[in-house]
Symmetry: C2
Subunit: 116 residues, 2 copies
DNA sequence: TTCGATGTTCGTGAAACGTCGAACAAGCTA
DNA sequence: TAGCTTGTTCGACGTTTCACGAACATCGAA
C-alpha cells in the first residue's frame, strides 16, 4: 500500500469529476459520504468485489472528489466538500440533489453497525 | 437518416448526463449551445471528423441534453434547458459555470459566419 | 434525372472501463 | 515468529468508448 495521490485544488478537472460521477456505484459512494463524515473503508457496503470497490474509490480520489487517509492498515475516506465548493461552486450541492431525485446509487450503503 | 430518439423528461438519467459531460468535445458543444439558440449542424466546428461529431451529438441526444430537429437534409440542435431544469434543478447552470472556470471544451466553436 | 451537400451508419482498431479472483504488502495481534 | 486483517495491485476478460474513412440515404438544386 503506497501513499495515494490526491490532485491539488486547481488540478481538479471538470471532465474527470463528471466521469467519476457517471457510474452508479461511485455515485452511491458519494451519497454515503455526503454528510461530510469520515467513513472507514470497511464501513462501506457495495455489491462488488473488494478489488472493484478499491478501483472505484481510486477513481473518486484521482478525480479529486474524495480524500483517503491511512491509519495503520485501515483507510478512511471523506468527501472533499470544501475543495469542491472552492473549485466549482455549487456543483456538489446540485449534484447531490440530483442523485436524490434520480435515486441513483442506492445500492451502496453502510455496513450494519455504522452510526447513521 | 432515421428519426432520432430523445429520452422523455423522466427518463433522463443522472449517470448518463454525467457520462455525456465527461468528454471535452461534448462539453464544448454544450457550451456553444448554452445561450439557448438553435444551431445548425454545419455551424458547429470541432476538431474531429464528421462521423465523430455525429457520434458525440448522438451521445448528447441520448443522454437527454440536446434535441435534434431535422429539416430537409439539415439538422438543428438545441440544448434542452427547460427539460434539464425541470429534471435536475440548477444542474445545468452550475455545470455551465464550472465549464467556464475550467475552460474546458474551448476547442469547440462556431464556424466563421455564424452570428454570435 | 443527375449532381452535390448533408448527416448517419458501418467496419475497424486502439484505448479505456468495470469486473473478478489471486497474489501481494503492510501492519496489528497472539 | 506466525498468523490474521486490510486494502492495493496484477493479470485476465468482455464491454464500451472514441476515432477515422468509406459507404450510404436523403433531400435540394441544376
Amino acid at each position: 500500500m503506497q501513499k495515494a495521490h490526491h490532485p491539488e485544488l486547481g488540478e481538479i478537472a471538470l471532465t474527470e469529476v463528471m466521469g467519476a460521477l457517471s457510474d452508479p456505484i461511485r455515485v452511491g459512494l458519494v451519497r454515503v459520504l455526503a454528510d461530510g463524515r469520515e467513513r472507514g473503508w470497511g464501513q462501506l457496503r457495495a455489491p462488488v468485489a473488494k478489488s472493484t470497490l478499491s478501483h472505484h474509490l481510486r477513481v473518486l480520489r484521482d478525480a479529486g472528489l474524495t480524500r483517503t487517509r491511512q491509519e495503520g492498515t485501515r483507510c478512511y475516506v471523506t468527501l472533499r466538500r470544501d475543495d469542491l465548493q472552492a473549485r466549482f461552486p455549487g456543483l456538489l450541492q446540485v449534484v447531490l440533489s440530483a442523485m436524490e431525485i434520480d435515486d441513483v446509487g442506492s445500492q451502496v450503503g453502510l455496513r450494519d453497525g455504522a452510526d447513521p
